[in-house]
Homo-oligomer: 621 residues x 2
């Protein structure tokens, strides 16, 4: 057995977490109590004070202290992994007919079955583990063990090998396990050659590992069965959960209850001196120290796991406390309107009815308990609403049930007259951003809150606008409000200087970065000014309608266009070119002054409204 | 026993969650297998097909289906609560000397102790429960039981009472429990009168409850021992975790392992037909249905818990997956500067060195695994930084270890020359927003990211500004850049129209909502324009320095001031009053025009920069 270089925790090891691991390691180091396993000479021959502690995150970062590369045999820590392979090979039901999942008050090597079920009580006692070894698929003994070795290697992320001398000793002296094998055969729990199953069990216990390997195996269990280093799948998520469940109640020999109370992590230990512990979704822990307590667990291993769990607050009953979602913010369409500038008539309607549409921003993890709280809040208010929007962009984990609950909420509220839309650009709830059909029966999904808000306003306007069609606004140049401050004659004169242009829906009117290119008065249609957000998506600063104007600031200041102007519907514009504008300033300063005051005020109020709406929504200063 | 009104789940019961509970209830209703407990006549006399399912959230919302008000006896579900009271009365260590916390493979009513420890294996088997009853404090038997009854009542949120006929039957026929009592006395586990302890155990098992009560008791355990309805503390958080740990491994008689695998919630059942299950921090579940399976657990109770756990994804090993923190966004001070307008020299320095200060926005729950990821990311970049800011405003739960880790990160990085500040207005990490001492050794804590960014910039300027003091900028009116477009003579003439005013640090210059009151040119000091955010706190839109101006938009447009202007340092201003401004427009339009162009451009670029910085930071459109 080659002894690789000793890895010492260095006091100057950079990093907060590395130091915590090193601290815990040092705090457990002094304890030299406990005895080596001595039922075979190889186990009694190891360095008794060897000690390693490794912590690996579910995304693959490893922190190691001590003899992390010292090789030892996996022993009983093999049991959950062979059980996992048996589950994958035969399915949980078939395996369940051979092995129970109940904790046992008996010793791990008891030569007896549950008196009622006549099955081994669980796969973590020897009888259950030998049964699991008998259930591994394969043409012959060689292939069956090779499949076990490969399985362990997938968990560890490197090719593991068997320690021949340890195997030879185990095979030579394992009378008790042979007795268990024959007992299992006599009860029909093992249906093939019991010697074959017991031999495979000896082999699997003799696989050589390091503390580092064990940490990666633990991290793979923590990562739903996907090895975070190799990205190779070692086990399905559902079977991973089953294996972890059995480890929770049966993993630590007879000390399982105390372990759950003081450590609170699914775990497995082996007489080789290893312990593996898992915080699902987050952390894998491995310890190696071969002196054992009366239960057969590593003395320093148990102490280190206790210290880590207490210090890092890893107890699983503690961690479950964390998952919350809350409605982080909510406001009405009256409080924060969309960036579509509507005409006065619509503005008045929205002032009157804007409280009947509301946006909810969810935050945290969207699991059942959080979703329950969100749904409860929304249901309590929905009776007073015509439309509502749920923004899920800031939620973390999304569980299936939470998605179902929001889907059901949509159906339920739609039936009672309140339309529900989502802001969910990344399809977190499984539905992509809607097309343009305003009556999508499944409820709309939007890219951002601004467009969702516009949709809410449209719902309100459809419901509360007095009957009778309104024609789309078309404004002659002379009646454009931008020229209202001028006298009749001035206005008529100036109108002649403008040139009329049309743009089709979707066409770019002015590209981002263009030089000053004129004053633009909108005579018909909608113009959208957009900017690129931190998410690299294009977002709307504002949409302008007939009677409004843009381009005045570049004209005034001489700066380029910082926003893109695009036709949101077919657009007709009156444009005063830059050269004509400059001549005008020379010829008729009072005219230019009046125009400028009007335009600057408009530009200012657009900008100011945008600042305010972003600030109020985001709360992010 | 009064039978209160039958609570039927209504198909039209409003609400998504109520319907899920009703659905699960209906899906389990058909199963009429199992037998009533019949060891005393009272248990055999209940309505066998009575069925109730309740779910209560940790914040006190209750969902009920079926016979939620039917009264039954608590039986073994009393065990964790008496154990809890014993722990509170004697402390975990003293209790641990009498009762272990190991799962038992034996029957719940075994007349034997663990052969090695000679203690009852756990408090959920009768031997352990009777021992717990013997450990309750009180002057006499009456007071001891009254304390138990009060304890249960605190969990249930109403005064519970004992069912006399059930107690009388239990007391008359409980020979086996008396045998256990005498065995415990003979081993010295019970140190007082065993009849007294057994009698108390009979009484506690005979306490009458409803399914609704049981759900509130479960919710109190879920809520760290604080009753969410009455807000009364029933148990400390630490003892609550211990009780839940023991329930995890020992709560469900001999079916504990299967329960952990298929339900995955700490739970306790009783032969009265009740089951109580807890998802810590989130949910309490209660079921009542008196037909029992071979293990002594309610048939429909087990089925309903399985269905709820599967459907709502409540398995605790699943839920732990959710808690993540990530660095949601990070950017340098060069990418998003503060809203303090600095002079050209400083701006150039910040363009050159702004990449050496970085802001990190954390999100999700700040538990160990999340904090590890955040610390790892930050440590990897900190070598290239002079200052960094960690914004924790969006994190959910904060664990103690995470706070410690960030604190240690501050110390560690400060020692290597990188200063670390927090944005934490609500003192989530336990430290309040700093005073003005720029060298606070513990690292600064800020109200918002803008002020934290300014602090970063100051750190960079202190480090990279060339040596040699710079005098604070003081500008004579005639040299103010606002007048630069005018000829020398015009400038001198106009300067005479201005009036000079001074303001002390902190003084309001213009209140929010004031009418147009003049054009303000800053000659010296700093002026802060602030707005009220969604958090009701005052935030900075921009800070202006000498050579800049404000108030032009209200002058131009005639609108009131929407932002408050306040002196951030002692300030000297040149003000052109509104009347003088209007006369000027009449007398010298070209002069006004030039002034306006310059001022409008400045106002626009302030506003535009604010929009962009808010948009980029928040990503919240």
């Amino acid at each position: 057995m080659a002894e690789p270089e000793h890895v010492r925790p260095r006091a100057d090891d950079p990093g907060v977490v590395a130091r915590i691991v090193a601290d815990v390691y040092e705090s457990c180091r002094a304890d030299r109590s406990g005895e080596l396993a001595d039922y075979i000479p190889e186990l009694a021959a190891v360095e008794p004070d060897s000690f390693a502690l490794c912590l690996a995150t579910a995304d693959g970062r490893l922190y190691a202290a001590g003899d992390a590369e010292t090789v030892f045999t996996i022993q009983s820590i093999s049991k959950p992994f062979t059980y996992a392979l048996a589950l994958a090979d035969r399915g949980p039901e078939a395996v369940g007919r051979h092995i129970d999942v109940e904790p046992s008050g008996d010793a791990f090597n008891e030569i007896s079955l549950d008196p009622v079920t006549e099955r081994p009580r669980n796969p973590m006692i020897n009888a259950g583990a030998i049964t699991a070894a008998s259930l591994i698929a394969g043409r012959d003994a060689e292939e069956k063990f090779e499949r076990i070795r490969r399985c362990y290697s997938r968990f560890a992320g490197r090719e593991l090998t068997m320690n021949e001398p340890v195997y030879a000793s185990e095979a030579r002296t394992g009378f008790r396990n042979r007795a268990i094998g024959y007992m299992l055969r006599s009860f029909g729990i093992i249906e093939s050659d019991p010697d074959d199953a017991v031999d495979r069990y000896f082999r699997q216990c003799s696989v050589d590992i390091t503390c580092r390997d064990l940490a990666v195996m633990a991290a793979t269990l923590a990562n739903n069965g996907l090895n975070p280093l190799t990205r190779e799948r070692a086990l399905t998520p559902a079977l991973t959960e089953q294996v972890l469940s059995v480890m929770t109640t049966c993993g630590m020999y007879n000390a399982a209850g105390d372990w759950v109370t003081t450590v609170g992590l699914p775990a497995k230990s082996g007489v080789g001196g290893g312990i593996l512990a898992v915080l699902p979704g987050q952390i894998g822990i491995a310890v190696y120290s071969p002196r054992l307590d009366a239960h057969g667990n590593s003395v320093r291993g148990v102490a280190a796991c206790r210290a880590l769990s207490r210090r890092l607050e890893l107890h699983f009953l503690h961690v479950t406390r964390a998952a919350r979602t809350a409605v982080r913010g909510d406001y009405t369409v009256a409080e924060v309107p969309s960036r579509l500038r509507r005409d006065t008539e619509d503005m008045e309607l929205l002032t009157a009815y804007g409280h009947r549409a509301r946006l909810y921003q969810l935050d945290g993890d969207l699991l059942f308990a959080g979703a329950e709280r969100a749904v409860r809040t929304i249901e309590a208010q929905a009776g007073e609403l015509d439309a509502l929007v749920i923004d899920v962009r800031r939620v973390g984990e999304v569980s299936g049930i939470a998605g179902d609950m929001l889907g059901e909420l949509q159906t339920e509220l739609a039936a009672s007259g309140c339309l529900v839309a989502l802001v969910d650009p990344d399809a977190r709830l499984g539905r992509t951003v809607s097309g343009l059909d305003p009556d999508d029966p499944r409820g709309r999904v939007f890219l951002d809150r601004d467009t969702a808000t516009e949709w809410c306003e449209d719902v309100l306007l459809r419901r509360y606008r007095p009957p009778g069609d309104r024609l789309p606004a078309v404004i002659p140049i002379v009646e454009h409000p931008a020229l209202a401050a001028l006298g009749h004659e001035d206005r008529a004169r100036l109108a002649e200087e403008f040139e009329v242009r049309t743009f089709a829906r979707g066409e770019v009117i002015v590209a981002r970065g263009s030089a000053r290119s004129g004053l633009y008065l909108i005579l018909e249609g909608r113009v959208r000014l957009g900017f690129e957000g931190a998410d690299r998506r294009d977002h709307r600063l504002v949409t302008l309608t007939a009677g409004m104007s843009f381009g005045e600031i570049p004209m005034l200041v001489g700066s380029p266009f910082v926003n893109e102007a695009r036709a949101e519907k077919n657009v007709r514009l009156a444009v005063l070119g830059p050269r004509r504008f400059d001549t005008l300033a020379e010829e008729a300063p009072h005219l230019k002054l009046a125009l400028l005051e009007r335009l600057a005020a408009g530009a200012y109020s657009q900008m100011d409204a945008a600042v305010r709406s972003i600030a109020v929504r985001g709360g992010d200063y």
